[in-house]
Protein backbone atom coordinates (compact mmCIF):
# COMPACT_ATOMS: atom_id res chain seq x y z
CA UNK A 1 0.00 0.00 0.00
CA UNK A 2 2.85 2.35 0.99
CA UNK A 3 4.57 1.44 -2.27
CA UNK A 4 1.40 2.32 -4.18
CA UNK A 5 1.25 5.73 -2.48
CA UNK A 6 4.95 6.24 -3.11
CA UNK A 7 4.54 5.34 -6.81
CA UNK A 8 1.53 7.64 -7.04
CA UNK A 9 3.43 10.57 -5.57
CA UNK A 10 6.42 9.89 -7.79
CA UNK A 11 4.28 9.72 -10.95
CA UNK A 12 2.48 12.88 -9.92
CA UNK A 13 5.70 14.82 -9.40
CA UNK A 14 7.17 13.49 -12.64
CA UNK A 15 4.18 14.08 -14.92
CA UNK A 16 3.59 17.54 -13.44
CA UNK A 17 7.06 18.44 -14.79
CA UNK A 18 6.15 17.30 -18.27
CA UNK A 19 6.51 20.39 -20.42
CA UNK A 20 3.50 21.52 -22.48
CA UNK A 21 4.03 20.86 -26.17
CA UNK A 22 4.09 24.22 -27.96
CA UNK A 23 1.89 24.30 -31.06
CA UNK A 24 3.42 25.10 -34.45
CA UNK A 25 3.24 28.78 -35.38
CA UNK A 26 -0.22 29.60 -36.66
CA UNK A 27 -1.77 26.37 -35.38
CA UNK A 28 -4.38 28.07 -33.21
CA UNK A 29 -5.15 30.47 -36.07
CA UNK A 30 -5.66 27.43 -38.32
CA UNK A 31 -8.08 25.97 -35.75
CA UNK A 32 -10.03 29.22 -35.72
CA UNK A 33 -10.01 29.33 -39.52
CA UNK A 34 -11.46 25.81 -39.54
CA UNK A 35 -14.18 27.06 -37.18
CA UNK A 36 -14.91 29.96 -39.54
CA UNK A 37 -15.18 27.56 -42.49
CA UNK A 38 -17.53 25.32 -40.53
CA UNK A 39 -19.59 28.30 -39.46
CA UNK A 40 -19.85 29.64 -43.02
CA UNK A 41 -20.91 26.22 -44.24
CA UNK A 42 -23.47 25.98 -41.45
CA UNK A 43 -24.89 29.41 -42.33
CA UNK A 44 -25.06 28.66 -46.04
CA UNK A 45 -26.92 25.53 -45.07
CA UNK A 46 -26.72 23.77 -48.43
CA UNK A 47 -28.53 20.47 -48.60
CA UNK A 48 -25.27 18.57 -49.03
CA UNK A 49 -23.69 20.32 -46.06
CA UNK A 50 -26.72 19.66 -43.89
CA UNK A 51 -26.74 16.00 -44.94
CA UNK A 52 -23.04 15.63 -44.25
CA UNK A 53 -23.37 17.35 -40.89
CA UNK A 54 -26.38 15.20 -40.03
CA UNK A 55 -24.45 12.08 -40.94
CA UNK A 56 -21.51 13.22 -38.82
CA UNK A 57 -23.80 13.94 -35.87
CA UNK A 58 -25.54 10.62 -36.26
CA UNK A 59 -22.22 8.82 -36.36
CA UNK A 60 -21.10 10.82 -33.34
CA UNK A 61 -24.22 9.73 -31.45
CA UNK A 62 -23.89 6.04 -32.13
CA UNK A 63 -20.07 5.82 -32.08
CA UNK A 64 -18.37 8.88 -30.50
CA UNK A 65 -14.97 9.66 -31.88
CA UNK A 66 -15.01 7.02 -34.58
CA UNK A 67 -14.33 7.88 -38.22
CA UNK A 68 -17.53 8.22 -40.24
CA UNK A 69 -16.95 5.00 -42.19
CA UNK A 70 -17.13 2.86 -39.04
CA UNK A 71 -20.85 3.28 -38.21
CA UNK A 72 -21.64 3.53 -41.94
CA UNK A 73 -20.06 0.15 -42.62
CA UNK A 74 -21.75 -1.35 -39.53
CA UNK A 75 -25.12 -0.20 -40.91
CA UNK A 76 -24.23 -1.49 -44.40
CA UNK A 77 -23.32 -4.90 -42.97
CA UNK A 78 -26.62 -4.97 -41.05
CA UNK A 79 -28.45 -4.12 -44.28
CA UNK A 80 -26.65 -6.89 -46.19
CA UNK A 81 -27.40 -9.44 -43.46
CA UNK A 82 -31.06 -8.38 -43.52
CA UNK A 83 -31.24 -8.64 -47.32
CA UNK A 84 -29.48 -12.03 -47.21
CA UNK A 85 -31.93 -13.40 -44.68
CA UNK A 86 -34.80 -12.00 -46.73
CA UNK A 87 -33.49 -13.74 -49.86
CA UNK A 88 -32.84 -17.06 -48.11
CA UNK A 89 -36.22 -17.21 -46.38
CA UNK A 90 -38.78 -15.61 -48.70
CA UNK A 91 -41.76 -13.75 -47.36
CA UNK A 92 -44.22 -15.62 -45.18
CA UNK A 93 -47.14 -14.66 -47.45
CA UNK A 94 -47.51 -17.37 -50.07
CA UNK A 95 -48.03 -16.72 -53.77
CA UNK A 96 -50.70 -19.44 -53.85
CA UNK A 97 -54.29 -18.23 -53.53
CA UNK A 98 -55.65 -18.29 -50.03
CA UNK A 99 -58.19 -21.13 -49.70
CA UNK A 100 -61.75 -19.82 -49.62
CA UNK A 101 -60.77 -16.58 -51.28
CA UNK A 102 -60.17 -17.57 -54.90
CA UNK A 103 -60.84 -15.32 -57.86
CA UNK A 104 -63.61 -17.68 -59.14
CA UNK A 105 -65.50 -17.40 -55.91
CA UNK A 106 -65.15 -13.67 -55.63
CA UNK A 107 -66.68 -13.17 -59.12
CA UNK A 108 -69.89 -14.73 -57.88
CA UNK A 109 -70.05 -12.02 -55.29
CA UNK A 110 -71.93 -8.91 -56.05
CA UNK A 111 -72.36 -5.79 -54.08
CA UNK A 112 -76.02 -6.12 -54.75
CA UNK A 113 -78.30 -9.03 -54.42
CA UNK A 114 -78.31 -11.39 -57.49
CA UNK A 115 -82.08 -11.12 -57.47
CA UNK A 116 -81.97 -7.42 -58.17
CA UNK A 117 -82.81 -6.48 -61.77
CA UNK A 118 -79.70 -5.45 -63.78
CA UNK A 119 -81.30 -2.24 -65.09
CA UNK A 120 -81.32 -0.93 -61.55
CA UNK A 121 -77.53 -0.88 -61.66
Amino acid sequence: MTDDFSDQGFADRAVKRLPLVPPSPGFEAALLAAYDAWNAERRNGSWAAAWKMGLRRFSETIWPGAPIWAPASALAVALLVGAGIGAAWPAMTSAEPVPGFSLERTTSFSLLSPDMPQEDL
Binding site: S6, Q8, A11, A14, V15, R17, V21, N39, R57, G65
Partner: protein, 185 residues
Protein backbone atom coordinates in the same frame (compact mmCIF):
# COMPACT_ATOMS: atom_id res chain seq x y z
CA UNK B 1 -22.17 20.06 -11.47
CA UNK B 2 -20.90 23.34 -12.94
CA UNK B 3 -19.16 22.92 -16.26
CA UNK B 4 -17.03 25.99 -17.01
CA UNK B 5 -17.08 25.20 -20.74
CA UNK B 6 -20.80 24.55 -21.19
CA UNK B 7 -21.72 28.15 -21.99
CA UNK B 8 -18.91 28.61 -24.51
CA UNK B 9 -19.74 25.31 -26.20
CA UNK B 10 -23.36 26.35 -26.66
CA UNK B 11 -22.32 29.78 -27.94
CA UNK B 12 -19.76 28.33 -30.36
CA UNK B 13 -22.47 26.01 -31.68
CA UNK B 14 -24.59 29.07 -32.47
CA UNK B 15 -21.73 30.71 -34.38
CA UNK B 16 -20.04 32.82 -31.67
CA UNK B 17 -16.44 33.12 -32.86
CA UNK B 18 -15.17 34.53 -29.55
CA UNK B 19 -16.53 31.54 -27.65
CA UNK B 20 -14.80 29.23 -30.14
CA UNK B 21 -11.54 31.15 -29.69
CA UNK B 22 -11.84 30.81 -25.90
CA UNK B 23 -12.35 27.05 -26.17
CA UNK B 24 -9.39 26.74 -28.53
CA UNK B 25 -7.18 28.82 -26.25
CA UNK B 26 -8.23 26.95 -23.12
CA UNK B 27 -7.90 23.39 -24.37
CA UNK B 28 -5.34 23.32 -27.18
CA UNK B 29 -2.12 23.25 -25.10
CA UNK B 30 -3.13 20.26 -22.98
CA UNK B 31 -4.89 18.42 -25.81
CA UNK B 32 -1.82 18.86 -27.97
CA UNK B 33 0.49 17.65 -25.19
CA UNK B 34 -1.62 14.52 -24.62
CA UNK B 35 -1.85 13.87 -28.38
CA UNK B 36 1.89 14.41 -28.82
CA UNK B 37 2.70 11.97 -26.01
CA UNK B 38 0.25 9.41 -27.37
CA UNK B 39 1.27 9.69 -31.03
CA UNK B 40 4.89 10.78 -30.86
CA UNK B 41 4.85 13.04 -33.92
CA UNK B 42 4.00 16.72 -33.71
CA UNK B 43 2.30 16.93 -37.13
CA UNK B 44 0.11 13.92 -36.41
CA UNK B 45 -0.76 15.29 -32.96
CA UNK B 46 -1.83 18.59 -34.53
CA UNK B 47 -3.95 16.75 -37.13
CA UNK B 48 -5.63 14.83 -34.32
CA UNK B 49 -6.35 18.01 -32.33
CA UNK B 50 -7.73 19.69 -35.46
CA UNK B 51 -10.05 16.71 -36.02
CA UNK B 52 -11.19 16.89 -32.37
CA UNK B 53 -12.14 20.54 -32.75
CA UNK B 54 -13.99 19.84 -36.02
CA UNK B 55 -16.00 17.21 -34.17
CA UNK B 56 -16.59 19.69 -31.38
CA UNK B 57 -18.03 22.32 -33.74
CA UNK B 58 -20.39 19.85 -35.39
CA UNK B 59 -21.48 18.60 -31.98
CA UNK B 60 -21.59 21.95 -30.16
CA UNK B 61 -25.10 23.03 -31.18
CA UNK B 62 -26.55 19.85 -29.72
CA UNK B 63 -24.45 19.93 -26.55
CA UNK B 64 -26.61 19.28 -23.48
CA UNK B 65 -25.07 20.79 -20.35
CA UNK B 66 -25.37 18.60 -17.29
CA UNK B 67 -25.54 15.36 -19.24
CA UNK B 68 -21.76 14.89 -19.24
CA UNK B 69 -18.77 17.06 -18.42
CA UNK B 70 -17.48 18.70 -21.58
CA UNK B 71 -13.84 17.83 -20.88
CA UNK B 72 -14.75 14.18 -20.40
CA UNK B 73 -16.29 14.13 -23.88
CA UNK B 74 -13.40 16.13 -25.36
CA UNK B 75 -10.67 13.83 -24.04
CA UNK B 76 -12.64 10.75 -24.98
CA UNK B 77 -12.83 11.97 -28.58
CA UNK B 78 -9.14 12.92 -28.41
CA UNK B 79 -8.04 9.48 -27.20
CA UNK B 80 -10.27 7.72 -29.74
CA UNK B 81 -8.56 9.80 -32.42
CA UNK B 82 -5.16 8.73 -31.08
CA UNK B 83 -6.14 5.04 -30.91
CA UNK B 84 -7.48 5.15 -34.48
CA UNK B 85 -4.26 6.67 -35.73
CA UNK B 86 -2.11 4.22 -33.75
CA UNK B 87 -4.15 1.31 -35.10
CA UNK B 88 -3.63 2.45 -38.69
CA UNK B 89 0.14 2.42 -38.27
CA UNK B 90 2.14 -0.55 -39.47
CA UNK B 91 3.36 -2.50 -36.44
CA UNK B 92 7.06 -3.09 -35.91
CA UNK B 93 8.14 -6.55 -34.75
CA UNK B 94 8.56 -6.78 -30.98
CA UNK B 95 12.15 -8.06 -31.27
CA UNK B 96 13.13 -4.92 -33.17
CA UNK B 97 11.53 -2.72 -30.52
CA UNK B 98 13.58 -4.39 -27.79
CA UNK B 99 16.83 -3.51 -29.58
CA UNK B 100 16.19 0.21 -29.86
CA UNK B 101 19.12 1.99 -28.26
CA UNK B 102 18.42 4.46 -25.48
CA UNK B 103 19.40 7.82 -26.94
CA UNK B 104 18.67 9.65 -23.69
CA UNK B 105 21.19 11.52 -21.59
CA UNK B 106 23.23 9.67 -18.99
CA UNK B 107 21.70 9.44 -15.52
CA UNK B 108 21.84 12.64 -13.48
CA UNK B 109 21.63 13.27 -9.81
CA UNK B 110 20.74 16.95 -10.19
CA UNK B 111 17.60 18.44 -11.67
CA UNK B 112 18.06 20.12 -15.01
CA UNK B 113 14.43 20.96 -15.85
CA UNK B 114 14.84 20.80 -19.63
CA UNK B 115 16.65 17.47 -19.63
CA UNK B 116 14.34 16.11 -16.94
CA UNK B 117 11.27 17.10 -18.97
CA UNK B 118 12.66 15.29 -21.99
CA UNK B 119 13.44 12.22 -19.97
CA UNK B 120 9.99 12.15 -18.39
CA UNK B 121 8.52 12.42 -21.89
CA UNK B 122 10.72 9.53 -23.04
CA UNK B 123 9.73 7.42 -20.03
CA UNK B 124 6.06 8.08 -20.78
CA UNK B 125 6.54 7.28 -24.47
CA UNK B 126 7.90 3.86 -23.48
CA UNK B 127 4.67 2.91 -21.66
CA UNK B 128 1.98 0.82 -23.38
CA UNK B 129 -0.68 3.12 -24.83
CA UNK B 130 -3.46 2.34 -22.30
CA UNK B 131 -1.13 2.86 -19.31
CA UNK B 132 0.16 6.06 -20.88
CA UNK B 133 -3.38 7.35 -21.43
CA UNK B 134 -4.34 6.53 -17.83
CA UNK B 135 -1.24 8.26 -16.43
CA UNK B 136 -1.75 11.35 -18.60
CA UNK B 137 -5.42 11.67 -17.68
CA UNK B 138 -4.90 11.24 -13.93
CA UNK B 139 -1.56 13.01 -13.38
CA UNK B 140 -1.33 15.51 -16.23
CA UNK B 141 -4.97 16.38 -16.84
CA UNK B 142 -5.87 15.89 -13.14
CA UNK B 143 -8.94 13.80 -13.85
CA UNK B 144 -10.43 11.84 -10.97
CA UNK B 145 -10.42 8.06 -11.28
CA UNK B 146 -14.13 7.89 -12.13
CA UNK B 147 -13.81 10.50 -14.87
CA UNK B 148 -10.65 8.95 -16.31
CA UNK B 149 -12.29 5.51 -16.34
CA UNK B 150 -15.27 7.03 -18.16
CA UNK B 151 -13.00 8.66 -20.74
CA UNK B 152 -11.15 5.40 -21.34
CA UNK B 153 -14.37 3.39 -21.36
CA UNK B 154 -13.17 0.98 -18.66
CA UNK B 155 -14.06 0.19 -15.04
CA UNK B 156 -12.44 2.08 -12.17
CA UNK B 157 -10.74 -1.16 -11.08
CA UNK B 158 -9.24 -1.62 -14.55
CA UNK B 159 -8.06 1.99 -14.49
CA UNK B 160 -6.43 1.52 -11.09
CA UNK B 161 -4.62 -1.53 -12.39
CA UNK B 162 -3.35 0.41 -15.43
CA UNK B 163 -2.27 3.27 -13.17
CA UNK B 164 -0.43 1.00 -10.74
CA UNK B 165 1.55 -0.65 -13.55
CA UNK B 166 2.22 2.64 -15.31
CA UNK B 167 3.40 4.37 -12.14
CA UNK B 168 5.71 1.49 -11.29
CA UNK B 169 7.26 1.56 -14.77
CA UNK B 170 7.72 5.32 -14.59
CA UNK B 171 9.39 5.06 -11.22
CA UNK B 172 11.73 2.35 -12.46
CA UNK B 173 12.70 4.33 -15.55
CA UNK B 174 13.18 7.61 -13.70
CA UNK B 175 14.63 6.23 -10.45
CA UNK B 176 18.00 7.94 -10.99
CA UNK B 177 16.35 11.39 -10.77
CA UNK B 178 16.72 11.86 -7.03
CA UNK B 179 14.67 15.06 -6.98
CA UNK B 180 11.54 13.18 -8.06
CA UNK B 181 11.67 10.78 -5.14
CA UNK B 182 10.03 13.31 -2.82
CA UNK B 183 10.80 14.48 0.68
CA UNK B 184 12.58 12.00 2.84
CA UNK B 185 12.50 9.21 0.23
Amino acid sequence: MHDPDAEDVAKAGRGDRNAAARLIGRHTPKLLTVARRMLGAQAEAEDAVQEVFLRLWTHAARWQPGKAKFETWLYRVMLNQCYDRLRRRPTAPLEAAAEVADSGPPPHAGLDEGVLGQEIARALDALPERQKAAILLCHFQDCGNIEAAEILGISVEALESLLARGRRSLKTRLAHWKGLAGDGR
